[in-house]
Symmetry: C2
Subunit: 292 residues, 2 copies
């Protein structure tokens, strides 16, 4: 029987607990990958990575607070992977109130979420991103998604990644997948390069169907769909070798990733402009990137 919570404080607690639970689960899955890799000469002299955690708190201001935990692993399959969980509350400044649902009436907000960016060492293993969150103003909603950025796209990987999200979406509402896939394609696009960030995935925001428990269940399934699909793709390619040319292509692709995150990503901009934790926000940047 699915868990049913009705009180807003219980909902907040349940969402927060889930994001932390998903983080723990993904970290364990990625650490197992680190132990299991057995090919790829380039990395076999390195030790399997383990996540390290670092917590941070928002600077105490009037009526605002909260904080988060950054989990970072610098391993052999994952050159750098960061999983951040944060739960913060406060008041939106004047400049943001108009653009945030329910904030014009009352500027107070509460937000909790998990976000992940993985930069594998191998150019054969795609870069990936996942984020899910619950926001409460005078309204409340869920948002999130995940997208895949291979240096060398493989049709089967793309199909499987999308297939996993489609199955998660279809189990809740058949209108979700086509809508959220398109939203992802529109969002993760670099207009100044006239190119997509990667091969897409799904992106959703402002999900408030009227049934909180259903929206929460969907959000959980999105996180699990990402974890399953991405870890399968990583395992599929982690034992392959690569050339110097492949590595160069990866560093250039990472340069584009930096451009997207610093120029276009709303979460990054929003975080930096609202005095978020810079180290946690910029955890998404690759360990090394190149430009021509």
């Amino acid at each position: 029987m699915p868990e049913t919570v009705n009180d807003i404080e219980e909902q907040k607690a349940a969402a927060r607990a889930w994001f932390e639970n998903l983080r723990d689960d993904i970290c364990a899955t990625f650490e197992a990958i680190e132990r299991d890799v057995e090919g790829a000469d380039e990395i076999m002299d390195l030790a399997p990575g383990q996540f390290e955690q670092k917590s941070w708190e928002r600077p105490e201001g009037l009526k605002q607070g909260g904080g988060g935990v950054m989990s970072v692993m610098r391993g052999r399959v994952f050159e750098k992977v960061g999983v951040n969980v944060s739960t913060v509350f406060g008041e939106f400044s004047e400049q943001f109130r108009a653009s945030i649902p329910g904030a014009a009436e009352d500027p107070r907000f509460w937000a909790s979420g998990v976000s992940l960016v993985a930069h594998p060492r191998s150019p054969r293993v795609p870069i990936a991103h996942m984020n899910t969150r619950m926001i409460v103003t005078t309204k409340q909603w869920f948002g999130g998604g995940g997208d895949l950025t291979p240096v060398f796209p493989i049709e089967q990987d793309t199909q499987d990644f999308h297939g996993s999200f489609k199955a998660a979406c279809d189990a809740h509402d058949e209108s979700y997948y086509p809508k959220y896939k398109e939203w992802c394609d529109e969002y993760f696009f670099l207009p100044h390069r006239d190119e997509a960030r990667g091969v897409g995935g799904i992106f959703y925001d402002n999900l408030e169907s009227g049934d909180w428990n259903a929206d929460f269940a969907f959000t959980k399934d999105v996180g699990k769909a990402f974890e399953t699909a991405y870890s399968d793709i990583v395992r599929r390619h982690m034992n392959e070798g690569w050339s110097d040319e492949d590595k160069k292509a990866q560093l250039k692709k990472r340069g584009r990733y930096v451009e997207f995150n610093l120029i276009h990503d709303r979460g990054t901009k929003f975080g930096l402009m609202t005095g978020g934790n810079t180290e946690a926000i910029l955890m998404s940047l690759p360990p090394l990137a190149a430009w021509e």
Copy 2:
């Protein structure tokens, strides 16, 4: 006897010719540095670099046009140095008119300028930036400046860099240097890191004293002051060796440089949002950069 031009079309032609002349001069100076380096084992197996030029044109639209020339050198002292000259004209879109002097009355503009970013191979040689430009709307003005970003600041370099700009400023107006130095410090600052981009220099904009010839002469002197000061500093350090730790520190500093340019730099934002030439605008990005 200084050149005196009074007609706006002559002024535009003279400014454009100067920016191209300064570019040629700086390129020759930097190519001489490439030939003259004789220490630094790390780079002596590389050939001296030479600039390569690539011209671009704005996509033809109604009442807009122009273009520019990118000069790029990938050498042994300069891992990557780009000098862009562009001369463009058109109409500002609605969203920009209010914020640009003289554009509310009539959206047409003409702009010409030179901009330079140098990323040396050696962590001992500072990164540098210089830009000067003339803009014409219903008003007309000059702007520009230069700033130095050493990985390991050396007091003498900082003093000499500032001294050269101070001399150029003082020859025109003693109020310029203190004002433009402060403007530079304010502008080249990363609030999200709470740190300065480097050791500063000068920055000025909207310079329209009422005497175009005087403003033009000042703008020329700013360009020459940069060329002299920076090439002296490069020659001072170009034969020094460096360690792997130094290189790591440089890659991290370059990461901060990327952050500034993509998150904060008005020229970059403005260029990308107005459909400028992406390759020319992002020429400022380093060949390789790192994040922790």
